[in-house]
């Protein structure tokens, strides 16, 4: 995978996780949860599309899933570290 598509897919996955987390918070309230779910879906599809254009559709889904898993691990760790280290957390 080339560097630029990799970075774009990475950024789209980070943005998707931001909305995915919002959906996760409000998932019991369909009205509130719909918009972040939609946004994250669009961003994730965008990431897959960029990977697919660069690598071909046989290889892209595996790479896309790999990037999403990797980004999610860092995202969850960093977000929680930041939140709990804030005053009053």
């Amino acid at each position: 995978m080339s560097t630029l598509p990799f970075l774009i897919t990475l950024a789209l996955c980070v943005a998707a996780l931001f909305f995915l987390r919002q959906w996760h918070r409000h998932r019991r309230h369909a009205g509130v949860a719909l918009r972040p779910a939609l946004f994250s879906g669009i961003l994730l599809t965008g990431g897959l599309w960029v990977a697919g254009i660069d690598m071909g559709w046989q290889r892209a889904p595996f790479m896309w899933l790999g990037i999403l898993s990797m980004v999610a691990l860092f995202y969850v760790i960093l977000v929680n570290l930041r939140q709990t280290s804030e005053p009053g957390a």
Binding site: M1, M63, V76, N80, T84
Partner: protein, 553 residues
């Protein structure tokens, strides 16, 4: 689901995990490193190919023809060229093979192996013997050592392969039972509570790493089991059932050999023309080797093995060796019918992450470290629950020993792996004995590290000290590399030897991270929970003494 069933799954999950956690960590960690084995580490380990930008194809073609004319024509059954480079070998190799009937039936492949310096093309080694023996006994380096260790723990086939295959199955089973016993997986998708308590930190880390890497862990487990068990169990069993024990026949059924249409008319063989055509047509492919079938004949075929095409797995590109015209190209199992070919083709690239260049490898490396951490965090939870609460049938002291052993084995294998980099630079032994020397350093360091951890008062201190030592080892690789080979970090950057510079830099960064991690780990279990345990012990003693006093007449 019934509560009893969940409990049974939990018992299975925790015991399978506890029994295999250390081995899984070792396999997963060395696997993560092996992702860079065929490529970056191969280049770093071989001074001769560090600066190799281009190979002189016309000169290699000339050399091939020259040596083909010199060897006995009986050795022209298969003529193979292995190009020097990150995905193939550290020397340019030419192998001339002949098929002979084996006394016990089937065929064996006798070969003449010629090794050339990749830059000067000077003949530096010549070996004769059975082809598999020659491949097994060829000079190795730390990259080969790591890949083999990950594959069979250096126990060989079938024992090592069966063991790693079974560990792959264990990982796969743990993923499935892990999902079943964690009904709140979706709820805890984003929860990580690092500062509340140690046990919660271990539990949350285990869940987050496990859930987000679920597909990766499952894939690695399944493909690992396939790769380990196929060679050791499935092929022999399949051959026994369907081919009267003839494994060669079974393999030929699934992977038919290239059969050139021989005309009997002599023709000049080509290498440069078809290879340049191939590279022009598929600009992203990296060609590792070329095999000629029917050398010297007008109908001869040359098959190039290449990585980096549009398909997930490596591809074979067939060309006419006489005219240089393309014939066909296909993936490893591409000549099979149906979905099977896609499934079988996907096994190796999905396991090693070698299907899309550096960024795929980096992603696989990070996720592979995640797999290693899942197993060790699971073990820590298992120990925490038993050493500091009422679960478990052993004494607290026995659980502490298990904890120290786990710390020594797991952190020790990291230290031992890092020591291989120094060993590769500092050992001056003949190339053929390098593998053995690396083994002595690796297993010696590992054993020392484990003993060190066992002698420390607790697992935390052992882990902390070993991480610190590992950090120092990693940080000193770049200067030692400069001293021993003259490839100082700045000079490698100036010369554009990006891989060598990248490995040095990555090790320096890893060393710094390990030292920071060592500083963050407490020298003993955090006091708050220790005191609660201490209180529990005091409480238990008080209860016992009450009972004893009450029972005494």
């Amino acid at each position: 689901m019934q509560r009893d069933t969940t409990r049974k799954y939990y018992a299975l999950y925790s015991w399978v995990g506890a029994v295999t956690a250390i081995l899984l960590f070792i396999i997963a960690f060395t696997g993560a490193m092996s992702v860079f084995g065929r490529g970056e580490l191969q280049v770093w380990s071989n001074e001769s190919i560090r600066g190799l930008d281009n190979i002189d194809l016309p000169a290699i073609e000339l050399l091939l023809k020259e040596h083909a004319a010199q060897v006995d024509p009986a050795y022209h059954d298969h003529v193979q060229v292995i190009f020097p480079g990150p995905h193939a070998g550290n020397t340019l190799a030419m192998i001339f093979e002949k098929e002979v009937e084996a006394p016990q039936g089937g065929h064996i492949h006798e070969a003449i192996w010629l090794g050339f310096d990749p830059e000067t093309l000077e003949l530096i080694e010549r070996h004769e013997g059975e082809i598999n023996e020659l491949f097994l006994n060829r000079p190795s380096n730390m990259s080969d050592f790591l890949i083999t260790f990950h594959g069979d723990l250096h126990l060989g086939s079938p024992l090592g392969l069966i063991l790693t295959g079974l560990l792959g199955l264990t990982l796969f089973a743990s993923v499935i039972t892990g999902v079943v016993i964690h009904p709140k997986i979706l709820k805890e998708l984003f929860s990580l509570r690092p500062w509340r308590s140690l046990r919660l930190l271990f539990t949350d880390t285990h869940k987050v790493l496990g859930v987000w890497g679920l597909l990766f862990h499952g894939t690695i487990g399944f493909t690992g089991a396939y790769l380990g068990l196929t060679a050791a169990v499935l092929i022999p069993a399949g051959a026994f059932v369907s081919f009267g024990g003839d494994q060669e026949k079974l393999i030929a059924t699934f992977l038919p050999e290239i059969e050139p249409v021989m005309t009997g008319a002599p023709a000049e063989m080509h290498l440069t023309r078809p290879l340049l055509d191939l590279q022009a047509e598929h600009d992203s492919v990296i060609v590792g080797s070329a095999i000629y079938h029917g050398w010297g004949d007008e109908g001869a075929v040359v098959a190039f093995s290449a990585l980096g095409g549009s398909s997930l797995s490596g591809e074979t590109h067939e060309y006419s060796a006489a005219t240089g015209e393309p014939i066909q190209h296909y993936s490893g199992f591409g000549r099979l019918q149906g979905v099977t070919k896609y499934l079988l083709d996907a096994m190796v690239p999905l396991h090693y992450g070698n299907f899309g260049g550096f960024w795929v490898k980096l992603t696989w490396f990070v996720l592979g470290l995640g797999t290693a951490l899942v197993s060790v965090s699971g073990m820590m939870i298992w120990l925490e629950r038993r050493a500091y609460s009422s679960e478990g049938s052993l004494s607290a002291a026995q659980y502490h020993w298990i904890g120290k052993f786990t710390a020594g084995c797991c952190t020790g294998v990291v230290v031992a792996t890092l020591s291989l980099f120094h060993a590769q630079l500092l050992l001056s032994v003949p190339a053929a004995q390098m593998g053995q020397a690396l083994g002595t350093v690796f297993f010696g360091t590992w054993a020392l590290a484990t003993c060190w951890a066992l002698l420390r008062p607790n697992a935390y201190l052992g882990t902390r000290e070993l991480l610190f030592i590992g950090g120092l080892i990693a940080m000193t690789v770049a200067p030692v590399n400069g001293l021993m080979t003259g490839d100082w970090f700045i000079s490698t950057l100036r010369q554009g030897h990006w891989i060598t510079a990248g490995v040095d830099l990555a090790l320096l960064a890893s060393g710094i991270l390990m030292i920071l991690a060592a500083r963050a780990i407490p020298g003993q279990r955090p006091l708050r929970e220790r005191s609660s345990r201490a209180e529990q012990v005091v409480r238990n003693e008080a209860l016992n003494s009450d009972y004893t006093e009450g029972a005494t007449p």
